[in-house]
């Protein structure tokens, strides 16, 4: 997500909101946001309710075998419709901001 923060102005300019979701509680998210300088929201899903609804749960993969989210990225348009999905097969390989920006450009020309 560091790379998304670095290029956040490009998302802002296109009217795109970037949001992170994990099982971490709000106080940890606040500390991490401050530490890493994130200016986009980090949402807290401690019981993995939303993570389950999106079927991106990684059971037992967290500390003390806690259920956590697997890395996954969704692009959702203003009608709430999914327009692009990235479900990695390798935890270390996550979507890069340029992939999302490219998907956005294919969706509709910039400025519309």
């Amino acid at each position: 997500m560091r790379s998304f923060q670095r290029r956040l102005s490009e998302f802002d300019a296109r009217g795109i909101r970037v949001v992170g979701i994990s099982v971490d509680p709000p106080d940890i998210n606040q500390r991490q946001s401050q530490k890493l300088g994130y200016t986009f929201p980090l949402l807290s899903d401690p019981n993995a309710k939303v993570i389950r609804r999106y079927d991106v749960l990684h059971p037992g993969a967290g500390p003390k075998s806690a259920d956590i989210a697997r890395p996954a990225e969704f692009l959702i348009d203003s009608n709430g419709v999914v327009r692009w999905v990235n479900l990695t097969e390798n935890i270390a390989v996550r979507a890069r901001p340029e992939q999302v920006l490219k998907a956005l450009n294919q969706l509709s020309p910039a400025g519309q």
């Binding site: 997500m1 998304f4 296109r14 009217g15 795109i16 909101r17 970037v18 949001v19 992170g20 979701i21 994990s22 971490d24 709000p26 998210n29 606040q30 991490q32 946001s33 929201p41 949402l43 807290s44 899903d45 309710k49 939303v50 993570i51 609804r53 999106y54 079927d55 991106v56 749960l57 990684h58 059971p59 967290g62 500390p63 956590i68 989210a69 697997r70 890395p71 996954a72 990225e73 969704f74 692009l75 959702i76 203003s78 709430g80 419709v81 999914v82 327009r83 692009w84 999905v85 479900l87 097969e89 390798n90 935890i91 270390a92 390989v93 996550r94 979507a95 890069r96 999302v100 956005l104």
Partner: protein, 142 residues
């Protein structure tokens, strides 16, 4: 006669161990995280030194030291590389298939969650007044 210090064994071993522990640093950059070539490069360089050192130790034992500790360090180095490869090329790929995840063209499931300030934020709030929203699910910092 005092035999000479077999420095390539030590240099090789240190470089291989550095190849393991530098992963935390290289994992911060997508180019060195997507494929860990920087770490593999360090393993390669370290192995070359180690092999040179071992050839010296076993080939000219009357000149160079390191038959015993060289073998021990080489064994540890093999374990280090094996552990790294197992973690990177096997463990990291054990990701659930997520066959039920929302697909392109489907409606994204709605939600309301607390942000880092404890304020409830819904998908509708995020979408109102914006062209699109990028949801990034991540493992967490714990």
């Amino acid at each position: 006669m005092k035999r000479r210090w077999n420095w390539p064994i030590w240099v090789g071993f240190v470089v291989i161990v550095a190849g393991l522990f530098s992963y935390g640093f290289f994992a911060r950059f997508p180019t060195t995280r997507d494929f860990p070539w920087a770490n593999l490069l360090l393993f390669g360089i370290g192995s070359a030194f180690l092999i040179v050192g071992l050839f010296r130790a076993f080939g000219r034992p009357q000149v160079y030291r390191g038959k015993i500790f060289g073998s021990i360090l080489a064994a540890i180095a093999v374990l280090v590389v094996a552990f790294f490869s197992y973690e990177i090329f096997y463990v990291l790929r054990q990701v659930p298939a997520s066959v039920g995840a929302p697909r392109v063209g489907q409606k994204a499931p709605d939600f309301i969650l607390l942000d880092q300030n404890g304020k409830p934020v819904g998908l509708g709030d995020l979408l109102s007044g914006s062209r699109a929203v990028v949801l990034i699910f991540y493992r967490g910092f714990w």
